[in-house]
């Protein structure tokens, strides 16, 4: 008996039914004790064939589909798609429509980051408290969406050439009332977590993505900015008149999970700044241009990108002058951000793998489409 204790790695399934995979996503983790030696990602559990379905429907009918890709930020998805169609067909949006779009997109970013930061805190084990605080504020945003578009989650509010309806009466007061408590909640969440020794121990230097890897892997959004790369589509390639608003790009230090968390919190502050500026300078006039119901854009292709809460969300459309797109393709930021999960997890422990996954802030509806 010279080999008394033998150990061998075994495969542990994290997901598709697991409290921390944020949807039906599965990691086949090969673990040696607590250490992850290999991680294989399995996606496709939520595939709904949206890109193919969209080829059978008119351009306007496709807007509700985009709601259901990244179901935590439907406004941003609407916006990205509408921008692509407008680029394809050469449609101008009136200034009021653009300002409303900016307000909605930024509110959506706040709502999504509330969820992202809260769920990340949950993954580190801060049992439900931060997420409930953030959810309280997110509810207010969803209420604002409901009073504007009639729906809370899948808003279907943007239209080609503008937005579906003008802002309802009382909208501005509602949003202004919301801003101060939101600031306070961000500060509360920061006070509870950012300086917390346990949180630092869990998130600092965990799941590090060096900036070279971040750029090579084509990451975007808080994942990229957490690695210290100052990149934001709103600054680099402004749309909807983002160039007239004043805001900063928060960037992290080392590209670890903690950096991504604090970048999200700071982005929420910057979003509030943008919302305030947009409300102050809200122009009058029509909220939308007249667009024929059966839109037939000229033959060609267009790619429009926006800074969604998760990163660069791109829509690629090809038209053959028909009433529906010849090709409809989404560049989902979650999928591309997820591609570095293996690099982030291998070598760490299982607990670190959960933190790494939480810090990416994936939405499986967008990954599988």
């Amino acid at each position: 008996m010279n080999d008394v204790v033998q150990s061998e790695p075994f495969v542990m399934n994290i997901g598709p039914q697991h409290p921390s995979t944020h949807g039906v996503f599965r990691v086949k983790a090969t673990v040696d004790g607590e250490r992850v030696v290999d991680a294989e990602m399995v996606i496709g559990y939520l595939h709904r064939s949206m890109e193919k379905l969209a080829e059978e429907r008119t351009y306007t009918q496709n807007i509700p589909f985009t709601d259901r890709t990244d179901y935590l930020s439907s406004m941003s998805n609407n916006l990205g798609y509408c921008l692509a169609v407008e680029k394809l067909a050469g449609i101008e949006t009136p200034p009021r429509g653009q300002a409303i779009r900016v307000i909605m997109a930024e509110l959506q970013r706040l709502a999504s980051h509330c969820m992202g930061a809260g769920a990340f805190a949950n993954d580190t084990g801060a049992w439900q408290t931060p997420i409930m605080w953030f959810m309280r504020e997110r509810e207010k945003i969803l209420d604002i969406f409901e009073m504007t578009s009639g729906a809370r989650l899948t808003c279907n509010y943007m239209r080609i050439g503008g937005v579906a309806f003008d802002l309802p009466p009382g909208f501005e007061e509602r949003v202004r009332e919301f801003i101060a408590p939101m600031r306070q909640t961000i500060a509360d969440g920061e006070g509870l977590l950012s300086g917390n020794e346990i949180f630092l121990a869990r998130a600092r230097d965990v799941a590090v993505v060096p900036h070279e890897l971040a750029i090579n892997a084509s990451l975007s959004g808080p994942m990229l900015r957490g690695s210290g790369v100052a990149w934001d589509i709103r600054k680099a390639d402004p749309y909807c008149g983002y160039e007239q608003y004043e805001f900063d790009i928060p960037i992290g230090y080392r590209g670890d999970a903690y950096d991504r968390f604090i970048v999200r919190l700071e982005e929420m502050r910057q979003s509030l700044r943008i919302v305030e500026q947009a409300l102050d300078g809200l122009p009058g006039g029509p909220h939308s241009t007249e667009v024929p119901l059966a839109l037939r854009p000229p033959a060609g292709e267009a790619y429009a990108r926006i800074e969604s809460p998760r990163g660069e969300l791109g829509y690629y459309l090809v038209s053959d002058e028909g009433p529906s797109p010849y090709r409809f393709h989404i560049r989902p930021p979650s999928l591309i951000n997820l591609s570095v999960l293996r690099e982030m997890t291998v070598g760490g422990s299982i607990a670190d793998a959960i933190v790494a996954l939480g810090s990416i802030d994936i939405v499986v509806g967008e990954i599988d489409r």
Partner: protein, 419 residues
């Protein structure tokens, strides 16, 4: 000393009641009957009067309400007035549910684990003094009994994890055992300091010691109290050290495959162990039933229950606030941080005890000891943390801000202004 009378109606001392009952039985029946009934009364007294209500209304209802309050929501408020009957409704629901056993599970072990888990929880309360004469088993070595019995549920947790034949469960079981082994060591060293200082191993004796010198041990040994709190929360798998049941990592640890009342027993007795640990802390560190003379007017057992619940509240509080540590960090914390502090505390306390006994200083000197210990503890914690590389000031908690989009901003770039 409190002056409870021997009348049965004196509710400052409930042991009068049992004595009267036993004397009555003794006068009508054979004396053996009284021997049989006595433990039963004791069990019923502490279990039905204290443990069960505390479990249900503090452990289940109170915890959910308080955490709900912390999380900006209401908590249970539908069943009964203010939702007070929620724990009963939960219990009824759990009884009705099917307790599944996976096909590949080791049935015998999986079936026996909840039983092994429950029995020690009941035993633990036997040595806790609820009042001057209200102690079920006044063991001379009650401290050791308590530590020994509180180590038993680890076995049950390991059985549960092993018997379930589930990878998550096995992870949980492995973590429970590793944690328990690590955290028992500083815990026992701390309690050794208590025993040295109080010069007794009996729990009523420790309470009497605190009542006599009019100073609770928490002030005399703040370090021991802090380490005790950390160690029991680790052993009980309470947040921030709930790695054995870490919901976001390994689903529910060794409880993953349990359902129905089998799970209910684990859940209920988890609270039972937390209550026992709180009762033990109230006894050893918070002066037990004594309260600077107040115990002559208020029933001492009420004071004791209040202290226990206060300590339990801190458990709830940390659970609602703190994130969870990683398992290797927890182990490192126990061995690198808590163990040296425990040794330091034991050394300090033993020195003071020796000084006290040899130099014949009188009881008042404990206040001086307390002042010295509080200061030295703070210095020791801070100094040892610095020695291990704790540098809080080097941690930026806000990101840098860039004005324009561009490429990578190096860390020493002044334009981004590293705040």
């Amino acid at each position: 000393m409190p002056t409870a009378t021997d009348h049965w109606y004196d509710f400052r001392d409930l042991s009068n009641l049992s004595r009267v009952i036993l004397e009555g039985i003794d006068s009508v029946g054979p004396s053996e009957l009284a021997y049989l009934v006595a433990p039963l009364i004791g069990f019923v007294a502490f279990f039905l009067v204290f443990v069960l209500p505390s479990q249900l209304f503090l452990g289940v209802y109170g915890e959910r309400r308080i955490i709900g309050r912390m999380q900006a929501r209401k908590g249970p408020n539908r069943v009964g007035p203010l939702g007070l009957l929620q724990p009963l409704a939960d219990a009824v629901k759990l009884l009705q549910k099917e307790a599944l056993t996976p096909a590949r599970a080791d049935r015998a072990i999986m079936w026996a684990a909840p039983i092994f888990f429950v029995a020690p929880a009941v035993l633990l309360f036997a040595v806790i003094p609820f009042g001057p004469r209200m102690v079920f088993a006044d063991l001379p070595a009650g401290l050791i009994f308590f530590i020994a019995v509180s180590g038993l549920p680890v076995l049950a947790a390991f059985m549960a994890g092993w018997g379930s034949n589930n990878k998550y469960s096995l992870f949980g079981a492995m973590r429970v055992v590793a944690m328990s082994v690590s955290y028992e060591v500083p815990l026992v060293l701390m309690l050794l300091g208590v025993a040295v200082f109080a010069n007794t191993l009996s729990l009523p004796g420790i309470v009497l010691f605190q009542a006599e010198v009019n100073l609770w041990l928490v002030f005399m040994m703040p370090l021991a109290f802090a380490v005790y709190f950390i160690c029991v929360s680790a052993e009980l798998n309470r947040t921030p050290t709930d790695i054995a049941e870490a919901e976001s990592e390994i689903v529910a640890g060794y409880l993953t495959e349990y359902s129905g009342m089998k799970w209910g027993l684990f859940y209920g007795m988890d609270i039972g162990y937390a209550l026992a640990a709180s009762a033990f802390a109230a006894t050893v560190f918070l002066g037990g039933w004594s309260m600077w003379g107040l115990e002559q007017w208020v029933p001492p057992w009420l004071i004791f229950v209040a202290k226990t619940h206060l300590f339990y509240f801190v458990f709830i509080w940390t659970r609602g606030t703190l994130p969870r540590l990683r398992v290797d960090q927890l182990m490192g914390f126990a061995w690198k941080f808590l163990l040296p502090l425990a040794v330091f505390n034991l050394f300090l306390v033993a020195l003071e005890r020796l000084l006290w006994a040899e130099a014949d200083l009188g009881d008042g000197i404990v206040f001086a000891f307390a002042a010295v210990n509080i200061a030295l503890s703070a210095v020791a914690v801070w100094g040892w943390a610095r020695l291990l590389g704790y540098r809080p000031e080097r941690m930026p908690t806000r990101p840098r801000l860039a004005r324009e989009a561009g490429g990578y901003v190096p860390l020493d770039d002044p334009a981004a202004g590293g705040r």
